[in-house]
């Protein structure tokens, strides 16, 4: 079995970036703590041997104050069955669960010291040193130390601990080769760190060690980075800037998406691809049942391609483009802190803001990211709210496709309704669920200008994920719908669901199909409504039901994994009942006025 090397350090010191550099893989990284809530495993070449490199979630200490930290501690003590996906796959690429395969006791540790936070890093480092494993220390973000006006004597650190210390800048790749050489050397010699009185774990030791290795410059002024960082964090002008930034983000997502859809993707498919598909299908398959499944009303080669790729993909691109920029800049925790006071009133923390925002992309990574929250109550509130009232980007794209042409007012009303429902649900849960509120105590990361290549890689990964996990299943679901439609099963189903769909919700009988399809993909509760010639009230009702309706099967599965079956069923029940209740009320009330 290959040897296992652990990559450890404080939260948000660049472990995942370094991991990607060392393994050539692409795991998610962002500029705030707690991005890695599960570990990732990848193969790394060291000279002529391969080792398993494990990207361990960041910890502040080995005392494990939350779930992500507990994983790290267990891993170091080698009692956890480290699981790896097949052939160098990582296990937290947004949605895939891992298969279990033990990697055994770690043979060495790469420890990342953050040059921007020496004190905290050394405190954890001294605790890891006590475990007596061969190790290499990486001094990451050495450029930031220069900027802040101090010098770190990495040779002195190396002497004190008896381990090699390599300065790097992981985002640019500076020092990576030196790190590899040091790793090979350590693997051969198996030298252990020195355990002495002076490097026992404790603050006195940290402070005396710091005196030996840190050379403060005379810099007393704030760097522009610090000044901007503070401006964006203070209520004034931070809150005003937040409003501008949120408006800009919203505009970028909707505007960029619309531009991509109208100018590039829709014309591309409608004028170039679909005529050719139709031409070929007509020649091969005779007119009738089979041909209709391919290119008829629900023809999966037409709708099955148009919906995911021309209507949804543009927003997936524009959303992740904007989100990735926000994530890497270090602005998201600041926004959370600015709104913390308001979020507290609905039982959430400022940090709980990040999962909610991720939820506008996809609920699965959002639910995973709730692991970084401190209490079970906060996790449950965030998860329920994400499932109930936060549409994923595919759904948002569908809403825009359905509503933007006919009624912008309805579109705004639907999102507003979602917002109201989010607050109401959180308020109710905050009352119902037991648990003391936890104290906020978070480190605010430095602002960083995201690097284009890192951003592009990240966006590409997320688009790829959407195509594999989202678009392809959607093609299959549309094909199933085509069979339903062409065989006449849809009419029978429509009859069966008539009391609910037609009488209570006021939608045409064929609208029962999206309700079935929506279980598989959230946007499919909305997209089939496109071709049904609905009036404004029906559009509003349909969109509302779509918004609150069940999260897709993949989301239910991840809730079961993260919590339990009971929670998943509870959320399923609340969302379904909520959707029909609110949708029905809208129709019944609206009917009185029209």
């Amino acid at each position: 079995m290959d040897k296992t090397v652990l990559l450890m350090g404080l939260p948000n010191v660049g472990k995942s970036v370094l991991f990607n550099r060392l393994t050539g893989l692409n795991v998610k990284a962002a500029n705030y703590g707690g991005t890695t809530v599960e570990y990732a495993v990848g193969k790394m070449d060291l000279g002529n041997t391969a080792v398993n490199l494990v990207d361990v979630p960041g910890t502040y200490s080995l005392q494990a104050t939350n779930q992500a930290e507990a994983v790290a501690v267990k891993m170091l003590e080698s009692s956890v069955a480290v699981s790896a996906g097949s052939s160098g796959q990582t296990c937290h690429c947004e949605s895939n669960p891992c298969s279990a395969a033990s990697l055994g006791k770690p043979s060495s540790v790469i420890f990342i010291v953050d040059a921007g936070n020496m004190e905290g890093s050394l405190y954890l480092l001294l605790q890891v040193v006590q475990k007596r494993l061969p190790m290499v220390v990486v001094l990451n973000r050495s450029d930031l130390a220069r900027e802040k006006g101090y010098k770190i004597d990495h040779r002195a650190l190396s002497r004190e601990l008896g381990v090699p210390v390599v300065p790097t800048v992981a985002v640019t790749g500076e020092g990576i080769e030196d790190l590899k050489k040091a790793l090979i050397k350590v693997a051969r010699s198996e030298t252990l760190p020195v355990i002495a009185e002076s490097n026992m774990a404790g603050w006195t030791q940290v402070e005396s060690l710091l005196c030996k290795i840190l050379k403060k410059g005379q810099q007393d002024f704030n760097t522009p980075r610090e000044r901007w960082g503070e401006l964006l964090t203070k209520p004034w002008p931070g809150l005003a800037l937040a409003v501008i930034i949120i408006a800009f983000v919203f505009g970028a997502v909707v505007g960029l998406g619309l531009l991509l859809r109208q100018q590039i993707l829709l014309p591309f498919f409608r004028y170039l691809i679909f005529p050719n598909i139709e031409m070929v299908v007509v020649q091969i398959i005779p007119e009738g049942f089979i041909q209709n499944i391919f290119i008829g009303e629900y023809g999966f080669l037409i709708k099955g391609i148009e919906w995911p790729f021309a209507l949804v993909l543009p927003y997936v691109i524009s959303f992740y483009f904007t989100l990735s920029f926000l994530e890497d800049s270090g602005y998201m925790p600041r926004l959370g802190i600015l709104l913390e006071g308001l979020l507290n009133r609905i039982g959430l923390k400022g940090t709980g803001f990040i999962p909610l925002l991720l939820g506008y992309g996809c609920a699965i990574p959002a639910i995973l990211s709730t692991r970084a929250l401190n209490t079970k109550k906060e996790r449950l509130i965030a998860t329920t709210v994400i499932c109930l009232a936060i549409p994923c980007i595919a759904q948002t794209g569908s809403f825009i496709a359905l509503l933007s042409a006919s009624s912008v007012v309805v579109m705004i009303a639907v999102f507003f309704l979602g917002f109201i429902a989010m607050i109401t649900a959180a308020l109710i849960l905050n009352r119902l669920l037991e648990g003391e509120p936890s104290e906020t105590l978070v480190d605010i990361p430095d602002l960083l200008l995201p690097r284009v290549e890192v951003l592009l890689k990240k966006i590409w990964l997320r688009i790829k994920n959407f195509v594999v996990d989202g678009a392809l299943p959607m093609v299959v679901a549309v094909a199933a719908a085509a069979v339903f439609y062409e065989t006449g099963l849809m009419v029978i189903l429509g009859e069966f669901m008539r009391p609910l769909v037609v009488v209570w919700l006021g939608l045409p009988p064929e609208a029962s199909v999206p309700l079935i399809l929506g279980v598989f993909r959230r946007e499919l509760t909305v997209l089939p409504l496109l071709d049904m010639d609905l009036n404004t009230l029906q559009l509003f009702t349909g969109a509302t039901v779509g918004l609150f309706y069940v999260p897709c099967v993949a989301v239910i599965a991840s809730i079961t994994r993260e919590f339990n079956v009971k929670t998943a069923m509870g959320i399923l029940l609340v969302t379904t009942l909520g959707a029909f209740l609110i949708g029905g009320i809208i129709y019944q009330l609206g009917r009185l006025f029209i």
Partner: protein, 107 residues
């Protein structure tokens, strides 16, 4: 303008923060107003406080107080940390007469 402000700040710092200052007064961290500094004298039991730099003897500066009852932003070790008000109420600091305090600390 900026430099003058800084200078004024560092005088305050010297006055209040030196350990042998004549009349150190104690207060809770949540009563410190923005741009004021203090020295930590007592912290409650919380695993993260020492790790984020809030330890007895450390100097810290209040950067901002969030609206709507949100957290306080403290600068310590050159890094910003957000601390909820309820936790800040249990952190005791020492400051000089020149430090700006909120008149009604728990208001």
């Amino acid at each position: 303008m900026e430099a003058a402000y800084k200078q004024k700040d560092s005088q305050v710092y010297l006055k209040v923060a030196l350990p042998d200052s004549k009349n150190p007064e104690t207060a809770t961290l949540d009563s410190l107003l923005p741009a004021s500094e203090g020295r930590v004298t007592r912290i409650p039991d919380h695993p993260l406080l020492p790790i984020l730099g809030i330890r007895v003897g450390k100097y810290l500066k209040m950067v901002a107080r969030q609206r709507f009852g949100g957290p306080l932003i403290i600068k310590v070790n050159g890094r910003c940390v957000a601390v909820s008000r309820s936790l800040a109420r249990r952190i005791i600091i020492e400051h000089g007469p020149a430090a700006r305090l909120e008149v009604e600390p728990h208001g």
